[in-house]
Subunit: 232 residues, 2 copies
């Protein structure tokens, strides 16, 4: 297995997980949060890493990304997001693209459903999967705005995620109950949403009746611009 | 390396980390929190594990342990804590003791200083160290009550923790800024407290001027009884 550095980071205000991975002095930040940019950049510096990429699993509606802010401080950093997100970025990702950071190779797996442009990032050799809001631990991202589509989400998860090795560790984009990771086998077996039939899943998602996202009116426009020029 | 299951769990109310480790169907919970007992036992059940031990790194002043509650539900579970803690438990641990859970072997490392009875639990083969409040990420537990002793804490950390392999992953008992793990090499290099001289460390700890712990009057008496008969 590739020797690499891994840090899971949490933003308590929005219950968001950010991931830092490093290999051969290069680093990538997955789903970094605007308010945590100082913390994250300090950590990267302390670890002697050079940040290469700042990447988002999708165009978030619940927090503003720090990719724009990070690029204003470290202009060599490239931002990345799925092309289908419609958001600005230096590099637009497509299904099957590979991202190299030191010896690490991330495979891009398109899993639309929570949003049009959702992607999971898969470290096949290391057996790690960063799922954003596609799968949460015992849950999933909502599908009632931002091109949400329960049926597409369900199909993508069953066809592309639950077919990965069962011991693949799942690192989600959020958690609200203190869980930090799960596995493909575990979610396939006990996730109360995806263990439903597709029809029941769609019906369940339709009836969730969730509140309007608290930060969506600020977050979405900012994130479509990759957080560039965002002023809190 | 031993194949094992690992879950880091968080209690947001007290910023406490609980750790679940499993091997060969056996499991151990490190520093479980009273209010999270249902979550933790459900997870253990979902993972098909049998809980063998519930263990505390020390007698906590900031939350009530769930070891008593867990034992009331699963009477075969044995509670463990350092003998020097003065707290009740089924098994009292001494420096150098080894705890076996499936194929995992934890070594007990006594590191008094935050309290008299603080212990770190070390998985040497796997390179993981559970430090409780002895070392926090870029910090450490306070030393101004409960037999706290800054000099002992400093010596223990330098002699017993910072002499472990630098890539040993540190899993602390708490974090308040969204960090989930660190490493021996990292803390030795940049922990702002332990990189001071011993004299300066003691002086710094003496001047912290922290508030009286919010939950100490409930937590300490309950934890000295291993949380048995605790009613919230």
């Amino acid at each position: 297995m590739t020797k690499f550095l891994f840090r899971q980071l949490y933003d308590a205000e929005t219950s968001t997980y950010t991931y830092l991975l490093g290999s051969n002095k290069e680093a990538i930040l997955i789903d970094p949060v605007f308010e945590q940019a100082d913390r994250d950049l300090k950590l990267i510096n302390e670890l002697g890493l050079q940040l290469k990429y700042a990447i988002n699993t999708h165009c978030h509606a619940d927090h503003v990304t720090s990719t724009g802010l990070i690029k204003s401080r470290l202009p060599h950093v490239k931002s990345m997001i799925a092309k289908a997100s419609g958001a600005k970025a230096d590099i637009h990702l497509l299904e099957g693209d590979k991202i190299h950071v030191g010896d690490l190779e991330f495979k891009c797996i398109a899993t639309p459903g929570h949003t049009d442009g959702c992607m999971c990032f898969y470290l096949e050799k290391e057996g790690l999967l960063f799922t954003g809001d596609t799968i949460l631990i015992r849950g999933c991202g909502r599908t009632d705005f931002q091109q949400g589509d329960s049926g597409r989400l369900y199909d993508g998860v069953w066809q592309k995620i639950f077919t990965l090795p069962e011991d693949t560790v799942i690192y989600p984009g959020h958690d609200y109950r203190g869980f930090t990771s799960s596995s493909v086998g575990e979610e396939k077996k006990v996730n109360p949403r995806f263990t439903k039939s597709k029809v029941d899943f769609i019906d369940f998602m339709n009836k969730l009746g969730l509140a309007y996202p608290r930060k969506i009116d600020v977050s979405l426009p900012a994130n479509l611009e990759c957080g560039i020029d965002f002023k809190p």
